[in-house]
Amino acid sequence: MSATPRTDGLVIAGRELSSRLILGTGGFTRLETLGKAIEVTGTAMVTVALRRLAVGGDAVHGSLMAVLDAHHVGVLPNTAGCYTARDAIRTAQLAREAFRTDWVKLEVIGDERTLLPDALELLAAAEALVADGFTVLPYTTDDPVLARRLEDVGCAAVMPLGSPIGSGMGIRNPYNLSLIRDQTKLPVILDAGIGTASDAALAMELGCDGILVASAISRAHDPVAMARAIRAGVEAGRLAHGAGRIARRRYAEASTPDEGRADLA
């Protein structure tokens, strides 16, 4: 009698995604490469943004949606570029009409150079959007207290940064990420900062439920190879987290028994 294989999908707001890797579509210079990255990562959800229609422009916009449709991935609209709660709320409402989804990756930025979140505006926007029926996934700092406040207002997940967007600096404060993991029942998705596969593995080893990655793949020298590497990193880290790592020790502990050694004197 064999048990049904346990699926290891990422469940957010009752919806199961078959992959723990959410792919950001930003930074790909060719849609064909984006399509290949979707295939190789096995992602079930990708982020998209909204920008003004270039009046009299070409038909490039349509083909992004065509690529996403062809790969049957879910769409997670973001509010990138918003600096106030008001702008972010309006953008989320536009996205709801554009993509027929009430899911939103909520970004409210507080600083142009670091693109770090504005905690106060983020919390206000999250609360308003939850009240308006949205499933809110906030991009947040790695502050455990802010993460708790976002959970309290009804967010569906928390998405703390490892380091600034596009910086590739990895996880600067693994301790904070662990605190967030320990205190929340919500899915924790590492968003921003991943530079390479080991960063993705570390996020998962720390107990994150998933990662969101864009630049590390799209801006890699070989995006498709990096997509494969980061997928493997996510899987390795997830397995390692479940396996339970050994405790760190200051000194060595031999794995070979000391007894029974031959007398070679």
Binding site: G24, T25, G26, G27, F28, L34, T47, V48, A49, L50, R51, R52, L53, V55, A59, H61, G62, L64, M65, D69, N78, A80, R90, Q93, L94, A95, R96, E97, A98, F99, R100, I165, G166, L212, A214, S215
Partner: protein
């Protein structure tokens, strides 16, 4: 009648609806949303929402973004 579309001064016939404007702009069918004077116009209301004089219309479309 003059309106603003994505910041550009645009001349349209009075009584033009949102749906008609999107046709004129050759906007894609998917991944499109519209706001007039800062308020989102639900997709289902595009065919009956007439754009008023001096309206500030924003038409946004899906683009790549993290």
């Amino acid at each position: 009648m003059v309106i603003s579309v994505n910041g550009d001064r645009t001349e349209i016939a009075s009584g033009t609806t949102v749906a008609e404007l999107l046709n004129l702009l050759e906007a894609p069918d998917r991944g499109v949303a519209v706001a007039i004077d800062g308020e989102v116009v639900p997709r289902g209301e595009w065919i009956r929402t007439e754009i008023g004089e001096d309206a500030k219309v924003e038409v946004v479309v899906a683009v790549q973004g993290g």
